[in-house]
Amino acid sequence: MPRIGVFVCWCGSNIGGVLDCPAIAQEAASFPGVVYSTEYKYVCSDPGQKLIVDAVKEHRLERVVVASCSPRLHEETFRQVLRRSGLNPYFFEMANLREHCSWVHPDTTVREQAQRKAVDLVRRAVAKAARLEPLFPGKIPVVRRCLVIGGGIAGIQTALDVADAGLEVLLVEREPTIGGNMVKLDKTFPTLDCSACISTPKMVAVAQHPNIRLYTYAQVEEVTGYIGNFKARIRQKARYVDHSKCNGCGTCWTRCPVTVPDDFNLGLGERGAIYIPFPQAVPNKPVIDLEHCRRSTRGKCGACAKLCPTGAIDYEQKDEFVDVEVGAIIVATGYGLFPWEKVYGEYGYGRFRDVITGLMFERMVNASGPTGGKIQRPSSGKEPKTVVFIQCVGSRDEARGKEYCSRFCCMYTAKHAHQILEKIPGSEVYVFYIDVRTFGKGYEEFYRRVRDEGAVYIRGRVSKVYQDGSKLIVRGADTLLGEQVEIAADMVVLATGAVPAAGAADVARMIGIPQDKDGFFQEAHPKLRPVETHTGGVYLAGTCQGPKDIPDTVSQASGAAAKVCGLLLRDELETNPLVSKVNEALCTGCLACQPVCPYRAIQPVTITERLPGQPPRERVVARVNEGLCQGCGACTVACRAGAIDLKGFTNKQLIAEVDALCL
């Protein structure tokens, strides 16, 4: 039995005014293992701490119990005192006499009961203390490399920030170019600067950065490991163009005989089967869309291969895999648009060609877009005179869409309204809205400016859009007047809300980070840890965490980068010693513990068991990765044999606590 010292704290009159501290100390002296017991006014004060240090020395104490306030307040304080006393800091246990006793049972009528409770609480602490084991935080080395998943503006910004700090970055983007959604936009609100003009220099910077390795047309397929030591497998999809030979001359993509609808322009334009998504793509080298390539659909063509001056075309190219080790992961997978065509029959289910989405409008109004910047009705190519915008398509619709607000639609709609009024003289713009949310710097001013320019905002949700000859009839209501409104429009632009990017669920599963109810990745704390996840070493940047505009995305990306730098610029990490541990002798390898671990810290390993008198035998047991384990203990209960136990909260300790309390 270890030698235990008990220190009962008065906390001034907070405890001492209600409980008889000397009596508690006296009674504690009789508990098994207690060799020293005393009380003091303020144990957490300097002299109080010194009291402990001295007593440890004088009475050769091996375990220390302080009966004072909540361990949530001072556990760490006293652990440091033990460290100073030369004891393992985990040889410490607290009894919470203040929050759980004196403060809640102050009445003289229950004084005797409170006193008995206090003694029980100290007995519990002593019982646990007697069973404490020394714990040592582990040290794990850190791989000074960061994986960024997603090459939109969030991924670009975070990659540049991390790389600028001198750390190596692997940026993986599944499309043939980085740039994401932002590079598709024409102008950015509220400053109206050209989106491509401000994002393409950053894209080039990524490509040229000595610390960034860029994988486009690639996907992360597997992630294992833990903070500081992840292993990831990247699939480099076959481009059928050898980028090491290609010089991006453009001969091939201008001469490809195939035309397919261009997904970069959301079907508003066309591209070849060998293509670059847009002129400023990074890398500025093509890929072949084998599904549409004439050589693969009809078995003959090969025009690009014949034309290529460097012989870069390689129809036989295969997907390749790259295994990498990284210390941290930043997820920046971005957003997609709410699939309104599947839901909103009242807006035509996508049947009416002149009902377009905001992103299509961006491509249309973009000078380098499919119409060369001319705003035109997709049905006729004519300039629309009356344009109706419908906000909150998919957003703020519990019934058929998403409950949340997508945050940026109000502003991009205002920007679109401005662009129509600016580019089409005599045009009329109507915006149906529920609320207009202009939360950013200069946003409200921009909204006001657009109204000044003549955009008519109508508070109400559009109920129906239908085709009437060449016009679209938009039926809504002005809820401020309480009257129905009908508008004969030439074009209707839907402000479709943001949803997690396609494949977000797969990313979540692969890395082991939870998604919120809407499928966005769950941050560790909505206020105080917005760029961290519950998985150590995995951070979030941008809209994969929730809808946000470009400034917020970039801020969060830099925030995530700062977190990664803080992590990776250390030599090694100290791990929390309060983690689970498997007693392999007891483990039957049923792995009931594995699925209950939210951190995927438990993995099966095969061990060779050598029992006396038996041949060596291989069997599977569970093993806890201490780098991943956060110490919740859910696994310990899943284990029927009691083979898995939580350090600091062991079965033995908890049973002793129950016994001590019930005495």
Binding site: C590, Q594, A641, K652, L654
Partner: protein
């Protein structure tokens, strides 16, 4: 019955030729109307194998004893889940095991059968006639209606043809269980009692437990290398002592409640615990209670999950708000 027995012997012989090291089946018992587990280790021992309506034992758990041998085992419909369970939890190496399924027409309650048959008659043959077993004895033919003579668990049986076997012998057996019989009828009766009456009911049963652990030993879901209630770890590295080994009512109740909880969602419903209990504690009442609750609250558990307690749904019923 005879043809199955013959098939068993043939299959066993063939398997031994193919390198089998152990065949676990049944042989006739030393007393009438009884079978017992039989372990054939060599070719020559296969002739003793039988199958008849007294082969009520679940042989699956014996597999665990031969971790390194190529083993074959005979399973009935209600035993097949046990093999599956043991394999799923990595107690068995499925590649070493040949599972031989036999169609089951139900198992008979021995006492009732003996009371029905003439005292000195020797059973010469048993035939399954769907609703009844026909016994040929030296004293003549006796038709035993299944409804009257089957084991209680067979009357609520829903799967008398094994699944997931490597080799199925004979024709598929027609259903045995009576339709419309509520498997939870008794559980509901007990639940309907008031707490003191329920306590009294269970106290009377638990009081007679000997803590022989037979229920645990035979249970295919009780597959821990070392049971948490009996861990023999040297003192200095001793873990938790969950339960005193004293045979007292509180300890007995603790043991049975926690054992039932440990096998919750994993119990294959074979009823072996109850069968082997020397003091006839109706242990399946605990297992069935849990099975019923799980069914009611959570429905079927996905096959890739170890057990109902290793998964959740955010929308699970919340009785704690």
């Amino acid at each position: 019955m005879k043809e199955i027995t013959e098939m068993l012997q043939q299959v066993a012989a063939r398997l031994f030729n193919e390198g089998l090291e152990m065949f676990i089946g049944y042989e006739s018992g030393s007393v009438p109307a009884k079978a017992r587990p039989y372990f054939a280790a060599v070719q020559g021992e296969t002739a003793a194998l039988v199958f008849n309506p007294f082969c009520e034992h679940n042989l699956a758990k014996y597999l665990v004893r031969f971790p390194n041998a190529k083993t074959a085992v005979v399973v009935k419909g209600c035993d097949a889940g046990a093999v599956e369970r043991l394999v799923k939890e990595r107690n068995l190496d499925r590649t070493r095991i040949t599972v031989i399924g036999v169609p089951c027409g139900g198992m008979l309650a021995r006492e009732r059968v003996l009371a029905e048959l003439p005292q000195d008659g020797k059973i010469t043959a048993i035939t399954d006639r769907r609703d009844a077993f026909v016994f040929q004895t030296s004293k003549g033919e006796h038709v035993l209606e299944k409804k009257a003579f089957l084991l209680a668990k067979c009357l609520i049986c829903t799967q008398n043809n094994p699944t997931g076997v490597d080799l199925m012998l004979g024709k598929e057996a027609p259903p045995v269980g009576e339709t419309g019989k509520d498997p939870y009828a008794r559980v509901k009766e007990i639940s309907a009692l008031d707490p003191p009456a329920r306590a009294a009911f269970w106290d009377r049963l638990m009081d007679r437990c000997l803590r022989c652990y037979a229920c645990r030993e035979v249970c295919p879901a009780c597959s821990c290398t070392e049971c948490c209630f009996e861990q023999a770890v040297p003192g200095w590295q001793q873990g938790a002592i969950w339960l005193s080994k004293a045979v007292t009512l509180p300890d007995n109740l603790h043991y049975h409640v926690i054992r039932a909880f440990h096998v919750a969602g994993r119990c294959t419903g074979c009823g072996e615990c109850e069968r082997v209990c020397p003091v006839r504690i109706p242990l399946m009442l605990l297992n069935r209670k849990l099975a019923g609750d799980i069914d009611e609250l959570y429905g079927p558990t996905p096959p890739d999950v170890p057990s109902v307690l290793c998964t959740y749904a955010t929308g699970d019923r919340d009785e704690f708000t």
